[in-house]
Symmetry: C2
Subunit: 422 residues, 2 copies
């Protein structure tokens, strides 16, 4: 007998018909002899509906007291969907009980709207499992030490599911979603993209942070930290698919490098159009420039991704970095009005028509020349590289956004990702 | 400085615009120096929407586990509206915090969907009041000793408000609703009906149980038991009405008989078409008949209202009682198939075209002849009385439903209820 955690996203919970399908699928797993904990998201659209009401009432409020109430409000979406799923399971003849985060309790810090899980008490849930009940635990939410409801931020139900799986030492955590796994790259861009049978959590981290929106990044961190076996699979297969086939479907995100690990050096190509590039040109090259520029940017709550400082020429250097589209105008203003006068730089330039393309693969650790293959491929396609950054298992480049599709396709082919898996 | 509890019904909370109006009204009371606790219902339609989803998922489930989940589900409506009201108050510049029933906590028994409040811990709420915050407490719900969410049944938010007012020894509990008070009778039937400035909680109990649907009956019982001053008033007056005028508007339900009590002997005329009449004719008149008939009816979970046993003639008697429309067919069946064969009665008859009309007044305690005035008036109108029942402050008659309006109008006039109050 295994202890299995299922997580279902908002789309999978989007109507009573779909909730009944989820119930039938969970019932199948329970009847196969597994102890089942299920973490559902709110019905699709519900969280947005609630937050829109709050926005109407208080278009500009931003206080902590306000964020506390937003969490009280938003948490109702998962409480309702959890109760509905418990009811749907009962209608299938399966004993079931639902718990809100505070009832488990799932303890978090008090960072309303973006709280972090600190601990989970599994006693209550375990007692129900022992009594043969399927336990539904609300995703997305917890309880702080003051007794207030907190939420974990968008996509937080993934994190709840993984955290519950970690706390209960579940055998596996299955994330049912509207895609059937993690792909070598976005199939909408590269029709030859293949589903990965397994991917390491480190690769998944790099993918998740770079536009593969399959899983909330924090849930992957959590899975890695607590060594939770995580599987991403589709909730749109028929519920009565053979359980042994289903149990091996989708993509397994594993922390064990040697366990059925795919041998490819590069596992996937990630890309995003979310970034923009800004550069401060002709800065007198003195110690502390990076701090003076990036410190001011960080103080303005702007997150910086890639950072490049050119080699100094004639005592002057250029300093470039990327920020999210949403922060672009604010960053340019800040540089022009605050940073440039202070540093005596010559000019501030920016470019919003860029994209970032990354190759990700745990095999890059032990293989040389992977980055240079990437650069060669791009060069052969006549694509100019504007910025480069590397990590142990990833190489990212910034290029003109008009070449994005071309670059992704060429890299996907060059690294053999279109080949059927061994 | 007074401690005031406001309760707002679902219609008053029905849109963000209305919630903002509630916030402005509450802010006015807070700025006048009162400590404010507010108990809102769910936004109108929300509870029905949620329960309809449950019904779709499990059309016939009735287990305790199911009712527990219904409470988890339904309680989200008030949690959301409470958070929204707190946000609306913050937008008005008023410090505010919302608590779900379990956070206060409001402790109840475990009778899911119809729980009873057992105790309220006011420490947390009082600390916020002392800190100058308006406290929003969800209506309709509490926490049982197992840590499960319970709800109090339809209209339960009235009871929550009164219970909170009792626990906190509030100076007054104001129930804002879509009518502007308690009337001598239904103004839709008698255009001359007058709003009562005050009514005793005992009269209100009789009114509430007989078709005056202004307040949930349990909230009135609670108010009586804990001597909570209760005022029913309209939430549809402009929010910026002078607070001194507002504080004296509507109808005060008081437990103090001498305090500004209206001197009328009869305070109001209540009526209902909800009842039906059934009769067992020609029952051999032996001890224990009433028990044998009504015991069987009670065992079938059918609630009986008025009961009449005729004087015995030739060793046979007739036994009549009234039940709700919904139980009529079930009752007739039960009598025909179970009770009659056992008792050897001659016949079972029923009548669904009846109504019950009642005069209610605390003055009836000390005035003789009130009932006989009622009978005279009905007789003068040619209305036949089918059944009569009396209590200390009420006399009810069952008559043909086609005479209901005529009877109510005649009684309203005969007891001077159309006269302007002294």
């Amino acid at each position: 007998m295994s202890l299995i955690v299922h997580k279902y996203g908002g789309t999978s919970m989007g109507s009573t018909e779909r909730i009944t399908n989820v119930a039938k699928r969970v019932a199948k797993w329970a009847r196969a002899g597994h102890q089942m904990v299920v973490v559902p998201s709110a019905m699709s659209g519900e969280t947005n509906r609630l937050l829109a009401l709050a926005k109407e009432l208080a278009p500009s409020t931003q206080s902590e007291a306000y964020f506390r109430e937003l969490d009280m409000l938003a948490a109702t979406g998962e409480q309702a969907s959890s109760a509905l799923l418990a009811i749907a399971l009962q209608a299938q003849g399966v004993e079931s009980v639902s718990y809100a985060g505070w009832q488990v309790p799932i303890r978090t810090n008090s960072a309303y709207t973006k709280a972090r899980i600190e601990s989970i008490d599994d006693e209550r849930v375990r007692a129900d499992l022992e009594a043969g009940r399927v336990v539904i635990v609300t995703g997305f939410q917890g309880l702080d030490e003051l007794g207030n409801i907190t939420t974990l931020g968008r996509g937080g139900s993934d994190t709840s599911a993984v955290a519950v799986a970690a706390a209960m030492k579940a055998d596996e955590c299955l994330i049912f979603t509207d895609v059937d796994g993690v792909y070598t790259t976005d199939p909408r861009v590269v029709p030859d993209a293949r589903r990965l049978h397994t991917v390491s959590f480190e690769e998944m981290l790099e993918m998740a942070s770079m536009g593969s929106k399959v899983l909330q990044i924090r849930s992957v961190e959590f899975a890695g930290k607590y060594k939770v076996k995580l599987r991403v699979l589709s909730s749109f297969t028929p519920w009565d698919i053979d359980i042994n086939i289903e149990a091996k479907s989708g993509t397994l995100i594993t922390f064990e490098e040697d366990e059925n690990m795919e041998q490819a050096i590069v596992s996937g190509i990630a890309f995003t159009r979310d970034e923009t590039k800004v550069a401060v040109l002709g800065v007198p090259d003195k110690p502390g420039i990076a701090y003076q520029i990036l410190g001011a940017v960080a103080d303005a709550n702007i997150e910086v991704d890639m950072i490049i400082q050119n080699i100094s020429k004639g005592g002057l250097t250029d300093f470039s970095f990327t920020v999210n589209h949403a922060d672009y105008a604010k960053t340019i203003d800040l540089l022009k009005n605050v940073v440039v006068p202070k540093l005596g730089a010559q000019e501030v330039v920016g470019d919003t028509k860029i994209c970032k393309v990354s190759i990700v693969g745990i095999g890059m650790r032990s293989h040389v020349g992977v980055a240079s293959t990437m650069f060669r491929v791009l060069s052969e396609e006549g694509i100019n590289i504007q910025m480069i950054s590397t990590s142990e298992i990833k190489t990212s480049v910034v290029i003109d956004e008009k070449y994005m599709e071309l670059a992704v396709k060429a890299l996907h082919k060059a690294f053999g990702l279109d080949q059927v898996q061994a």
